[in-house]
C-alpha cells in the first residue's frame, strides 16, 4: 500500500511530463510547495496571530497580515520566476563509469527574469544563477554514472526558491537523449599471446590456400566482405570468415575473447583501459567484440568510437518509456526546437 501511492504519483508525473529534450515550463508542469523554511514561517505567523489576539495588539495583527500577504505574493513570484523558462538538453554527455557525466543544458528565460535557478539530478546539482528575460544560459550538469551503458536520467529537476526561500517551484525535464557511459578502465594484464584457449572459438584450421594461423568462424554482421571465404561459401553454402591469427594475436587487435574466464564486464573494462592506453600513445588498433569489430585505426575519433562500442555493447538504446497516446500531437514549436537540441548530439 505504501508503495502504491508513490507509484501512482510517479505515473501521474510521467504522464504530465512526457519525455522530451526540450521542456517549456508552464502552469501545467510547474509545481510549487512551501519549503521546510516556509512551513516554519507559516507556524511563526500563526504564533504571531495568537500573540496579537491575546494581547489585543492591532499592530501585531497588521504585521502578521503583511507577512502573510508577502508569503502569498512570494508564491506568485516564485512561480513566475520559472514559468516561461525553456530548458533544452543540448548534448548528453559521455564519460567513464563512476565519474560524473556532464550533460550540456541550456536555459532560456521567458518574459520574466529567471533568478536563482538550480538544476539537479539525484544529489548532484548545479546553479544556473540569474537568466535575464529573453536570454539564455548554458550549464553542464554532472550526472553520476554507476555502470557502463546508456545514461539517461529519469528526471532532471529544475528548481528555484527565489525570492525568499520560503517556497520552491520546480519541474522536471525527462530527457529523451541518453548519455553514454564507457566502462570503467581496469588495467589489463598485458597478454599479447593468442587467445588460443578460447573455448567457443573454432579450432584453428589450415585453409586450402595455405594461409597459416587463420581461425575460421561463422560470419556475423559487421564482417568485411573481403574476409569471407567465398570459395568455401561456394562449396558448402556456409558464410565463413577467416580471422587472421597474425592480426588477432598482434597488439593491434584488442579482442574481447582475449580475457577468457573473466566476467564480461571486466573484459570490457580491460578493453577500455587498453583503448585508452592505445589512444594516448596514438597507436593503431582495432577492436573486436562479439558481433562487432572495428577496423584498426588511430586518432581521437577512433578512440571515442571504440569507447562507445564498448559502452553500448549488448545494451538496448533507451526509448521513450511512455509513448504518446493515440491522437496526441506535440506542440510544433516545442518539437521544432527539439530538433535543434538533438542535432547537437549528432
Amino acid at each position: 500500500m505504501n508503495r502504491f501511492i508513490p507509484r501512482r504519483w510517479q505515473r501521474w508525473i510521467n504522464r504530465r511530463i512526457p519525455r522530451s529534450d526540450v521542456q517549456l515550463l508552464t502552469q501545467k508542469n510547474l509545481f510549487i510547495l512551501p519549503t521546510s523554511a516556509g512551513v516554519v514561517f507559516a507556524m511563526l505567523l500563526l504564533l504571531m496571530l495568537i500573540t496579537g489576539i491575546n494581547y489585543q495588539n492591532s499592530l501585531i495583527y497588521l504585521v502578521t497580515f503583511l507577512l502573510g500577504a508577502v508569503f502569498i505574493g512570494a508564491m506568485y513570484q516564485t512561480h513566475r520566476t520559472l514559468a516561461g523558462l525553456e530548458l533544452t538538453l543540448v548534448e548528453a554527455g559521455e564519460g567513464f563509469a563512476g565519474d560524473d557525466v556532464l550533460f550540456h543544458l541550456r536555459a532560456t528565460a521567458g518574459k520574466q527574469d529567471a533568478v536563482a535557478v538550480m538544476l539537479s539530478v539525484d544529489d548532484t546539482g548545479v546553479g544556473i544563477g540569474h537568466v535575464p528575460a529573453g536570454q539564455s544560459r548554458e550549464v553542464r550538469l554532472p550526472v553520476t554514472s554507476l555502470s557502463r551503458g546508456y545514461l539517461r536520467p529519469d528526471r532532471i529537476r529544475i528548481e528555484t526558491r527565489f525570492p525568499f526561500g520560503l517556497l520552491k517551484a520546480w519541474s522536471w525535464m525527462r530527457p529523451v537523449t541518453a548519455g553514454i557511459v564507457f566502462p570503467r578502465p581496469v588495467a589489463a594484464p598485458e597478454t599479447p599471446g593468442v587467445a588460443k584457449e578460447g573455448d567457443q572459438t573454432t579450432a584453428a584450421t589450415r585453409s586450402s590456400d595455405g594461409n597459416d594461423h587463420a581461425q575460421l568462424r561463422p560470419w556475423r554482421e559487421g564482417d568485411l566482405s573481403q574476409r569471407v571465404l567465398w570459395k568455401r561459401y561456394a562449396r558448402s553454402g556456409q558464410m565463413v570468415v577467416a580471422d587472421w591469427e597474425a592480426d588477432k594475436g598482434s597488439p593491434h587487435w584488442l579482442d574481447f575473447d582475449r580475457f577468457a574466464g573473466a566476467e564480461y564486464e571486466l573484459r570490457l573494462s580491460h578493453l577500455c583501459w587498453l583503448v585508452v592506453e592505445r589512444g594516448k600513445s596514438g597507436a593503431r588498433f582495432g577492436l573486436s567484440l562479439p558481433g562487432q569489430a572495428i577496423e584498426p585505426d588511430a586518432g581521437p575519433a577512433h578512440t571515442v568510437r571504440c569507447l562507445r562500442a564498448l559502452a553500448t555493447w549488448g545494451q538496448q538504446k533507451p526509448r521513450d518509456a511512455v509513448g504518446l497516446r493515440h491522437g496526441t500531437r506535440q506542440d510544433p514549436d516545442a518539437k521544432a526546437s527539439a530538433s535543434i537540441a538533438t542535432g547537437g548530439g549528432l
Binding site: Q77, H79, R140
Partner: protein, 690 residues
C-alpha cells in the same frame, strides 16, 4: 566557458553565507534594537554589538569564528549573567531580553542557510514583541523598516548574484508590497477581532516612570523632570478649568518612617485577560475618554465625581478606579462626570475603622508640627483649622521649588519652620500630618493636576511633570473635601501648570534637553510637537485601538448587520479573491506570449515558413536537413534556405570562445530576418508561376 558552478547539494548549503544577506540581517537587528534601547540593560546591548561585530569581521576574513568550546563557554557565561539579572521573573520584558541575547549568541554560529533562517524567525518575532512595548507611529515605521530589511536579507541569501544588489531587490520588494497592500488593509479591517484566548504574562515587570504607590517627600519632583506623556483626554464638551483638573489616582493614608503608603495594599491578583475595550461610539454628554500610556499598574486616573462607562475599569471606592488587568500597554477607558447638582450621598460619619486609619500617625517625631496643630485646634471647627493652615501657607514666605533642600530628620518640622521650601509632595505630606495631629481625618491623594491642550484644542495632554500630590480632609457634614497646600503657596501651578510656577527658578525640565516641551515658548517647536502628537493620538485611537468593540462599531455602520460570523466569511472571501485575482493576472501574463531571444523568434518564423511550404518539421531534425528537404520541395529558395540553416547551425553550435559580441549577433539576426523575408517572397513568386 560555462556559467554556473558545480557542487553537491550538501556543499551548496554549507557554503559561506553571502555577505550582503548577512549585512542586511545585522542592519535589521540594529534597527529592531532601537525601540528597546531605553529598556534593555547596557551590558546586553554592548554584548550584542560585540557579537554582531565579531560575526561581521569573521565574514570579512579578519578574525575567525570561535570553536565549539569557546562558543559554548561564551553562551553559558552570558546565559548565567542573564539568569542572575532576571531573577526568576517571567514577563514579556524578560523574554524579549532573552530573545535579544539569543540573537546575539546566534551570530557566532550563523554559518549555514539554516542558521540564517533561525535568525530570521527570531527577528520577525522580535518585531511582534517590539509592538507590545511601543505602538507609536514612528516606532511602527521603524519596525516595518526592519521587516523590509529582513526580507531584503532573505532575497540576498537566495539570489546572491542578482545584478543591481540591494537597490534591485528593494525595487522588487517594493513592487510586491504595493501589490499586496490592498489585501493587507482589507484583512486588517475585516479580520474578526476575537477576544483573547487565554491570559498572557504582563508585558513588563519593571517599574515604569510615573507615579508610584509610595510617597517619600521629593519623589514627585523627580517626575517633574520628565515630559513623557501620562495620558490624553478627550471631553464630550468643554475642558474643565485648569484648576479643576485634579486627576485622582490613588490614596496614601499610612505614614511610616517618613514615607506615605497605601493603607489597603492591593492584594496580588492574576493579571487576567487583556481587555482593551474602552467604549465605542460618540462621547455622550459629560463623558470623557482617556488614553493612558502603559504604567504596569492597575490604577486609572479620574476626575472627582466620575463613574465608569467602559467595562475595562471598575470603581474601587473612594472615587478611585482600577483596571481589571494592569495597564501593560497603552489603554483607553471612558468615564462620565456625575452632575454636581446631584450631591453625592454623604454619610454622616466615617466608619470607626476608617476614622482611626485616617488619623494614624507615628508615635513620635516632628514635635513642632504637633505643637502647631495644638495651636490651630484652639479655633473651633475643622473647617476653620484648615482655613488657618492654608492662610499660614499663603501669608508666610513658603516657596514652591523643584530644587528642595534635603530634610532627613523631622522632615515636616524642617519644612514648616526652617527651610520653607518644598515641592507638592512635601507640602501635602506636611499638611496631612498637621491635620491629623489636630484630630481631623486626612489623607494624601496622588495623581496628576492640569494638562495642556493638544493641537486644535481637541484633547488634553497630561504629562509626567503634571504629577501632583494633594490632601483630602474629612469635614463633618461635607464629607471629603480637597485641600491643596500647593494652591495656597504657588497658585500658578494650579492655574496654569508647572512651567509658569517655576518660571522664576528656571528649573523646568532643566535636565531634559531633548524634550520639545522644554521649548514650549518657541512657537515652531511647539506647533510641530503638537501636530506630531495629534497624529500619534489619532493613530493610537483609530489604528492601534481598532479592536473588538471598535471593529463591530465600525461594521455596524456598514449596511447589512455584520457580526463576527460574517466577518469570518468576509475574511475568507478576501483571501480567496486575492488568490484568484493574482492567479488570473499571472495566467493572463503567461498567455500573452513569452519573450524569447531573437534567434528563437527567427527559428519559429522559419518553422512556419517550412510548414507553409509543405515541409513538415520532424522531431530531431537539424536545420540543415530541413533546409535540404525544403530545397527539394521548393527549389526556388534552395540557396537561401541552405544559407539560413548554416547560419542557425553556426549560432547554436559555435564554441563559446567564438561567441560574437552583442553587436555582431544583432547584425546576424538582421541578416537572418532579411533571408526569411526574401524566402517568403521567393515562395510567393514560385507559387504564382506554378
Amino acid at each position: 566557458m560555462i556559467s554556473g558552478y558545480f557542487a553537491r547539494k550538501s556543499q551548496l548549503k554549507a557554503d559561506r553565507l553571502p555577505s550582503g544577506a548577512l549585512l542586511w540581517l545585522v542592519a535589521s537587528f540594529a534597527l529592531l534594537l532601537t525601540p528597546q534601547v531605553g529598556r534593555l540593560p547596557l551590558w546586553l546591548l554592548s554584548v550584542c554589538g560585540l557579537l554582531a561585530g565579531w560575526r561581521w569581521l569573521a565574514q570579512k576574513g579578519r578574525v575567525r569564528l570561535p570553536g565549539r568550546w569557546l562558543r559554548t563557554g561564551i553562551m553559558l557565561a552570558l546565559v548565567a549573567v542573564y539568569l542572575v539579572r532576571v531573577q526568576g521573573s517571567f514577563t514579556v520584558d524578560t523574554a524579549a531580553s532573552f530573545f535579544v541575547l539569543a540573537v546575539g549568541l546566534k551570530w557566532l554560529e550563523t554559518r549555514t542557510a539554516r542558521d540564517f533562517y533561525v535568525l530570521f524567525y527570531i527577528l520577525v518575532y522580535l518585531v511582534a514583541v517590539n509592538f507590545l512595548f511601543h505602538q507609536e507611529i514612528h516606532w511602527t515605521l521603524v519596525n516595518l523598516g526592519a521587516i523590509f530589511l529582513l526580507l531584503t536579507a532573505l532575497q540576498m541569501l537566495n539570489a546572491p548574484d542578482l545584478p543591481g544588489g540591494a537597490m534591485a531587490s528593494w525595487r522588487r520588494l517594493g513592487g510586491m508590497l504595493l501589490k499586496v497592500l490592498p489585501v493587507v488593509v482589507l484583512l486588517f479591517l475585516f479580520f474578526p477581532r476575537v477576544a483573547p484566548l487565554w491570559s498572557v504574562p504582563l508585558v513588563s515587570g519593571q517599574a515604569r516612570s510615573g507615579i508610584s504607590d509610595t510617597m517619600r517627600p521629593g519623589d514627585i519632583s523627580s517626575l517633574a523632570q520628565s515630559s513623557e506623556r501620562a495620558f490624553r483626554v478627550t471631553f464630550a464638551g468643554e475642558f474643565p478649568q485648569n484648576r479643576d483638573r485634579y486627576w485622582r489616582g490613588l490614596i496614601l493614608d499610612t505614614l511610616k518612617d517618613g514615607t506615605w503608603h497605601q493603607g489597603d495594599t492591593e492584594s496580588f491578583r492574576p493579571p487576567g485577560r487583556v481587555n482593551l475595550d474602552g467604549g465605542v461610539g460618540e462621547l455622550q454628554v459629560r463623558e470623557y475618554d482617556v488614553l493612558m500610556e502603559p504604567t504596569d499598574q492597575r490604577w486609572a486616573f479620574a476626575l472627582n465625581d466620575s463613574a465608569a462607562v467602559s467595562d475595562n475599569i471598575a470603581e474601587k471606592g473612594d472615587g478611585l478606579f482600577r483596571f481589571r488587568r494592569p495597564a501593560d500597554s497603552s489603554v483607553r477607558y471612558r468615564l462620565a462626570l456625575e452632575s454636581s447638582n446631584n450631591p453625592v450621598p454623604q454619610d454622616s460619619a466615617l466608619k470607626p475603622g476608617e476614622a482611626s486609619r485616617y488619623l494614624q500617625l507615628p508615635a513620635s517625631g516632628n514635635p513642632r508640627a504637633r505643637a502647631l496643630a495644638e495651636d490651630l485646634r484652639q479655633s473651633a471647627s475643622d473647617l476653620e483649622v484648615i482655613r488657618r493652615l492654608m492662610n499660614r501657607f499663603r501669608e508666610q514666605p513658603y516657596f514652591y521649588t523643584l530644587r528642595p533642600p534635603k530634610m532627613p530628620v523631622d522632615g515636616v518640622d524642617s519644612l514648616l519652620f526652617a527651610e520653607k521650601r518644598g515641592f507638592c509632595s512635601h507640602y501635602a505630606g506636611a499638611t496631612t500630618f498637621v491635620l491629623r495631629s489636630a484630630g481631623i481625618p486626612a489623607r494624601v491623594v496622588v495623581g496628576y493636576q492640569g494638562g495642556e491642550a493638544g493641537a486644535g484644542n481637541e484633547y488634553l495632554v497630561v504629562r509626567q511633570y503634571d504629577a501632583h500630590a494633594w490632601v483630602e480632609a474629612w469635614v463633618e457634614g461635607q464629607g471629603w473635601i480637597r485641600v491643596d497646600p500647593t494652591a495656597a503657596i504657588a497658585p500658578d501651578r494650579i492655574e496654569s501648570g508647572l512651567r509658569e510656577a517655576v518660571a522664576g527658578e528656571g528649573s523646568f525640565l532643566e535636565n531634559n534637553w531633548a524634550s520639545a516641551q522644554k521649548y514650549g515658548n518657541v512657537p515652531l517647536i511647539q506647533w510641530a510637537s503638537q501636530q506630531l502628537d495629534r497624529i500619534n493620538y489619532k493613530w493610537q485611537r483609530w489604528v492601534v485601538g481598532y479592536q473588538g468593540q471598535s471593529q463591530l462599531n465600525l461594521m455596524s455602520r456598514l449596511p447589512g448587520g455584520i457580526t463576527m460570523k460574517e466577518l469570518g466569511y468576509i475574511t475568507a472571501g478576501i483571501v480567496g479573491l486575492g488568490l484568484l485575482v493574482a492567479g488570473a493576472v499571472s495566467a493572463f501574463q503567461m498567455r500573452r506570449g513569452r519573450r524569447r531571444d531573437g534567434y528563437g523568434r527567427v527559428l519559429s518564423a522559419w518553422y512556419r515558413l517550412c510548414e507553409q511550404a509543405g515541409v513538415p518539421i520532424r522531431y530531431g531534425e537539424t536545420p540543415a536537413a530541413q533546409a535540404l528537404r525544403l530545397a527539394e520541395a521548393e527549389p526556388a529558395v534552395a540557396d537561401s534556405a541552405r544559407l539560413f540553416a548554416r547560419m542557425i547551425n553556426s549560432h547554436y553550435y559555435r564554441p563559446r570562445s567564438g561567441r560574437r559580441s552583442v553587436q555582431e549577433s544583432k547584425s546576424e539576426l538582421k541578416r537572418l530576418r532579411r533571408l526569411l523575408v526574401s524566402m517568403r517572397r521567393q515562395l510567393r513568386r514560385a507559387g504564382k508561376t506554378q
